[in-house]
């Protein structure tokens, strides 16, 4: 499923666009950066409540499809600018992580 379809289905706010045509394979949820480094796969969407600068680096290094910030956590302008510069999709949801994961799981499962 393409990122832009997920954005629409889940009503995500786009903070930094990235590649919205990119195919999203699956998703990974964690707030521990090393855990994401170890466990996330390229093409995954990453769901987290971490909003600092390093999320952009982790997403870039792991070649993730994008980062979804849950619970309405607003990153700083610098983080958004960095995501734009690196071509990383940075998305925002008002939903808490658990609800967001549940909905995305349904959406990603449906296409299988």
């Amino acid at each position: 499923m393409r990122l832009k379809d997920i954005i629409e289905e889940l009503g995500l706010k786009v903070l930094a666009q990235g590649d919205v045509d990119r195919e999203v394979n699956w998703a990974y949820t964690s707030d521990l950066l090393s855990d994401v480094m170890a466990g996330a796969q390229p093409g995954d969407l990453w769901l987290t409540i971490q909003k600092h600068m390093n999320i952009v680096a982790v997403a870039k290094l792991k070649d993730l499809a994008g980062v979804v910030l849950a619970k309405g956590v607003q990153p700083s302008q610098e983080v958004v600018a960095k995501a734009e510069e690196e071509g990383i999709a940075l998305l925002l949801s008002e939903e808490p992580l658990f609800e967001l994961c549940g909905k995305l799981y349904e959406v990603l499962r449906r296409k299988d």
Binding site: L32, L33, S34, A38, H52, M53, N54, A57, L61
Partner: protein
């Protein structure tokens, strides 16, 4: 391809804002050199964790050297930080000495060194209390390269 060596200084700024900049830079360099994607991914993880460790613990920062050769990528990490008291423990997943505020940022999961070892074909670490830590990691390019 000739041997290509890159060296980077990890400067400690007191915040973690910059962690990942050097590994991102290294990743771009390796991609430019046409290193296999899977190898780039593994080297990126190793360098990211190294950067994170230096930023977390080594007061005067440290250095990362990356040498790209036709058959392998060597990564050398060195700092003159506090050293690791119990290497055996530090290599166990989940063992962490990071303070709480670091954990809250999502760092200090106790997975840094295990992640580095897992992604290396050769992993050597030496550490001396009060002197610093040295790591040599090798990722072979012919092995499950994709």
């Amino acid at each position: 391809m000739e041997r290509q060596v890159f060296s980077y200084s990890v400067v400690r700024t007191g915040s973690f804002e910059d962690v990942g900049l050097i590994s991102t830079e290294i990743k771009k360099k390796l991609e430019e050199l046409g290193v296999e994607r899977n190898i780039v991914r593994r080297v990126s993880i190793i360098c990211f964790e190294a950067e994170m460790n230096i930023s977390l613990y080594a007061e005067r920062g440290g250095n990362i050297f990356v040498a790209v050769e036709p058959d392998k990528v060597d990564i050398y990490v060195e700092d003159d930080g506090p050293g690791i008291e119990d290497l055996e423990k530090a290599m166990q997943p989940g063992y962490s000495t990071a303070p709480l505020w670091v954990h809250e940022l999502g760092f200090g999961a106790g997975m840094g060194l295990p992640n580095m070892e897992k992604n290396s074909d050769v992993f050597e670490i030496t550490s001396e209390l009060g002197k610093g830590t040295k790591i040599h990691s090798v990722v072979f390019r012919n092995k499950d390269a994709a």
